[in-house]
């Protein structure tokens, strides 16, 4: 099958690739570019494990062709950490609040939360729950994911994190 040339910015670096018209963005990222952080959980855009940040929006990369991302600016979990190499508040929050277990949904979940906290700097619990409802987790029951995102929001806002009373 004839291949198309695509150029995109991924985690701050310009990347070029040759892809089949039907190559999914997730397969370009994982198989060709070795960015294996985003995962494949369903290939039907339900689970969100493949979530990346694309031109300022959360996108499920299993349901987008690589050619559609030509020219895009993409951030994956590999590009979430701070420029100085320290962990992003979300990465720290997920560990501190035990917001992950098997780790398979985590890259997509953190990447979604990364955009959510830019859309809404101080979300309520309900807003967080709706905000991550496109991302499935089978291990945690979400309760600690919510806390992890609250932890990160507090840190990014420069306020002390207070765990909601049980």
């Amino acid at each position: 099958m004839a291949k198309s040339h695509v150029t995109m910015k991924i985690n701050g670096k310009t990347v070029e690739a040759l892809v089949e018209p039907r190559t999914l963005l997730i397969h370009l990222l994982r198989d060709q570019l070795s960015l294996t952080g985003p995962h494949i959980g369903c290939e039907t855009s339900h689970c969100g494990a493949c979530t990346v940040d694309l031109d300022g929006k959360s996108v499920k990369s299993c349901t987008m062709f690589a050619v559609q991302a030509d020219g895009a600016d993409i951030v994956t979990i590999e590009g979430i950490a701070n420029p100085d190499g320290t962990l992003h508040a979300l990465q720290e929050g997920f560990r501190q609040m035990h917001g992950l277990q098997c780790g398979f949904c985590t890259p997509g979940m953190i990447t979604r939360a990364y955009r959510l906290l830019q859309e809404n700097k101080n979300p309520t619990e309900e807003e967080i729950r709706y905000g991550i409802s496109g991302n499935l987790c089978r291990c945690t029951g979400y309760q600690n994911i919510v806390k992890a995102i609250q932890y990160a929001a507090a840190k990014l806002n420069g306020v002390a994190f207070q765990e909601a009373a049980e």
């Binding site: 039907t44 950490a81 560990r95 709706y130």
Partner: protein, 806 residues
């Protein structure tokens, strides 16, 4: 000692040992996208495999033409049953003593059954090839109803077994019958029913569901023709079992098979068994001489690998009129699909289902289970539970409510009256299980007080009155349960898998500088083993948990073990870890005695050191002893500081809990709102409370999914109608309730550290608690049992049947 010397408590805290809410080691890589899962593996010249699958639930395969598939650019080879027959692998043995087609051999017996395996240079070419395999079918009559499987005119599911009157577990009653298994004393149970004042009987069905981890089943097989060695990377909950079974099936010597399970994206029982995808990948790698990756799609996952439950239980309880249970009888039809690929300990075709007397002192009991074949996917795994324990717990807890209703007793009071009492432990049940420890009344009372149960019942009464007056269209339901699990399989006298005793193992090596590595026969799939096993070692050996690496999943380096499922890691490998530590500690003590020039008996252990009794300033820390073990051991002693322990548990462990759920049901929409869910668990000694709570949150969420919406459903033609996330309910953050967790701590007396295991308790207890709450909402209208799942449609239908829609 001067003031600068840390106290024992301060030193203990620094170790981050047992009881510490230690942050997880695993998270550092997972939060940065640096986990290493199967699909992340890329090998030079790697090929991809994809199945062509059956569109029919039951059909004769008349012809398979692979020419068009083979002609697709990039396709390297196409495997069919005929190819597999050349290496005697068209069929494979199952863990349950049956055989299973690897690729369709003359017939297909369930929809999406594997028919041909296309191997290609890319995922896309493999998929193109799979689409172009041409198969000519002749449709056959389908049966997907287990209750009709043994009818005289039922379609024959297994032509290959038609004439066989003996199965792996004894005599077969019918051509679709797999096994009969019974436990307890039938005569005693019948006698109890004869003298009972009140009896109940209900058909309680636990629908077919699927564990559905977020990562599907996958593998990469790489066969080295020169060395004759196979390396198999895969999503394996039990890597050593895969190696042994793989060797037995393939005839490749076991030392030439290297099984590696890297990070696993959830398992929940789905990744215990051996699937056609693994076998085909191995054969494909042998045929092509190149590594072959097989990645299951979500549809394949939900419709072919490892369903759970599908138990249909005709349950009876017998009671005195004042509410003392006299007897239990249960007859179950178990649907095992087209092949008996149930993942149970081999002697237990219905698993540990005879835990069905639950938390109650029931003097006489009997259960009988018949397994049957249908045109559904094979499996029967323990989805986040010990073998068939969820089914048993669901059945007894539903029956308890139905009996309480008939006795006009409060369900909590009825339970309290029949709970096994603290002084009865160790308690031997009517089925012969010896429950290790518990204080059930304390747990139950704590739960009832925590939610102010009596006040809730008063509120419910008022709400029912308001409903009757037409002031509200909502009904309030309260689910209250007390469950007991049986986990930690298991004692070798009771449990084996294909003859391999279900022990487990730990090998600990302490390095000269006082750090170390622990390798185990279990395999974490998210349970946080790298974190928690190190905590056991920290407490046992007085070395900081941070200095202990934990490694699992590589059969070349890990000691043999049976893997992680059935909440067995902590009860079995956790015990092995503690026992290996004690061997190391005993040696360290001898070294300390030599260095301090005292007798062994003159030393006492204090957190991280041996000190001389009565002279605490003379001591050797474990770190010092580790160094000494490599350069100044006593004369005649071998250098080094390591130990391995294979632990064969003397008994199972019996974690338990008391759960309460409060819901409101809108009778016009069928919508159920969870107002509150309180879960009290007793898993014995708590190793990491943070991880325990996380496991409980997750298990409760899976329980919520099962009770409120999950079902693997087949239509009458054998089409599986719930094979994607569009149709199979997985709760999102929006539906998932808030969880309240609580605990008591009664250690297991036979376990070296008293721990019982916890990962599965919330699933076992959660499902009946939700179901009881929904049923309780309608019970005052005379409804005794509404089948799961309690999705909006079915709840609305229940309300409709009760005439609540005018």
């Amino acid at each position: 000692m001067n003031d600068m010397t840390p106290t024992s408590a301060e030193r203990a805290a620094k170790l981050e040992g047992m009881g510490c809410k230690r942050k997880r080691v695993e998270d550092i890589r997972f939060t940065q996208g640096k986990g290493n899962y199967i699909d992340d593996i890329k090998m030079p010249a790697m090929l991809y495999g994809e199945f062509n699958r059956s569109p029919y639930g039951h059909a004769r395969v008349k012809k398979i033409d692979t020419a068009k598939a083979a002609a697709v650019p990039g396709v390297v080879a196409v495997l069919t049953a005929e190819t597999l027959k050349t290496v005697n692998l068209a069929w494979m043995p199952t863990l349950a003593g049956d055989v299973q087609m690897v690729l369709a051999d003359g017939y297909v017996l369930f929809q999406n059954q594997e028919v041909a395996f296309v191997i290609a240079e890319s995922r896309e070419a493999a998929a193109d090839g799979a689409d172009l395999v041409e198969v000519e079918y002749e449709e056959l009559p389908v049966n997907v109803d287990p209750l009709k499987a043994m009818a005289p005119d039922a379609p024959v599911i297994r032509e290959d077994l038609k004439g066989k009157t003996e199965g792996a577990h004894g005599k077969r009653k019918h051509y679709n019958h797999i096994f009969s298994w019974q436990a307890g004393d039938k005569a005693a149970a019948d006698a109890a029913f004869g003298k009972a004042d009140v009896t109940i009987r209900e058909l309680i069905s636990y629908p077919r569901v699927h564990p559905c981890p977020l990562e599907t089943c996958q593998c990469v097989a790489s066969f080295d023709k020169i060395k004759g060695e196979l390396t198999l990377y895969g999503t394996f909950q039990a890597p050593h079992v895969i190696r042994t079974v793989g060797s037995l099936i393939s005839k490749i010597p076991e030392h030439k098979i290297h099984v590696i399970a890297p990070d696993i994206g959830g398992g929940f029982g789905n990744k215990v068994g051996a699937y056609p995808g693994y076998i085909c990948s191995i054969v494909a790698s042998i045929v092509t001489g190149r590594p072959v990756k097989w990645t299951e799609s979500r549809i394949d996952n939900l419709s072919t690998t490892a369903f759970a439950r599908d138990f249909h239980m005709d349950m009876e309880l017998a009671c005195t009129k004042d509410g003392k249970i006299l007897g239990l009888r249960c007859y179950t039809i178990a649907d095992h699909g087209a092949f008996d690929a149930c993942a149970n300990a081999t002697k237990w075709p219905a698993g540990l289902f005879s835990i069905i007397s639950g938390s109650y002192d029931i003097p006489a009991a009997h259960c009988l289970v018949d397994g049957v074949y249908t045109n559904k996917a094979p499996g029967g795994v323990a989805y986040r539970c010990s073998f068939r324990v969820t089914e048993a717990a669901y059945c007894i807890e539903r029956a308890m409510d139905i009996m309480a209703q008939k006795l006009r007793m409060d369900p909590a009071d009825f339970r309290m009256k029949n709970l096994i009492r603290r002084e009865q432990f160790p308690y031997t049940s009517a089925f012969g299980w010896q429950y290790d420890s518990g204080d059930y009344q304390t747990a139950m009372n704590k739960a009832l007080e925590a939610v102010d149960y009596r006040k809730l019942r008063e509120q419910q009464k008022q709400k029912r009155e308001a409903f009757k007056r037409g002031e509200t269209r909502e009904l309030m339901g309260i689910g209250v349960i007390h469950f007991t699990e049986i986990v930690g399989a298991g004692p070798s006298r009771a449990c084996d898998i294909l003859g391999i005793a279900m022990f487990d193992s730990a090998e600990i090596r302490i390095h000269p500088t006082g750090s170390g590595i622990c390798r185990l026969g279990t395999k974490s799939q998210g349970q946080g083993h790298e974190t928690t096993y190190a905590q056991i070692i920290a407490t046992e050996l007085g070395l900081p948990a941070d200095n202990i690496a934990v490694e699992e999943g590589n059969t070349d380096t890990a000691p043999y073990g049976l893997g992680t499922y059935g909440s067995r890691s902590t009860p079995v490998s956790g015990a092995a870890t503690a026992m290996a530590c004690r061997k190391i500690k005993a040696k360290a003590q001898m070294i300390a005695a030599y260095m301090l020039e005292v007798h062994d008996d003159d030393l006492e252990w204090d957190v991280d050191r041996f000190k001389v009794r009565g002279n605490p300033e003379r001591f050797k820390t474990m770190t010092e002893l580790a160094w000494a073990a490599y350069h100044e051991v006593p004369p005649g002693m071998e250098p080094g500081l390591e130990a391995v322990d294979y632990y064969d548990p003397p008994n199972f462990t019996f974690p338990y809990g008391a759960y309460i759920c409060v819901i409101d049901v809108d009778v016009d929409t069928g919508q159920v709102k969870v107002r509150r869910f309180y879960a009290l668990d007793d898993c014995g000694t708590r190793i990491n409370p943070m991880i325990i709570e996380g496991q409980i949150h997750g298990g409760l969420t899976e329980a919520f999914g099962i009770a409120m919406g999950q079902e693997i459903h087949y239509d009458d033609d054998g089409n599986v109608t719930t094979a994607s996330f569009q149709d199979y309910f997985l709760p999102t953050a929006v539906e998932t309730p808030h969880w309240e967790t609580d605990w008591t701590e009664v250690p297991s007396p036979h376990h070296p550290i008293g721990a019982k295991g916890v990962g599965e308790s919330p699933n076992v207890g959660g499902v009946p608690c939700f179901s009881n709450a929904v049923n309780d909402a309608f019970s005052f209208l005379g409804s005794t049992h509404i089948q799961m799942p309690h999705d909006n449609w079915r709840v609305w239908t229940a309300a409709e049947k009760l005439g609540l829609h005018g």
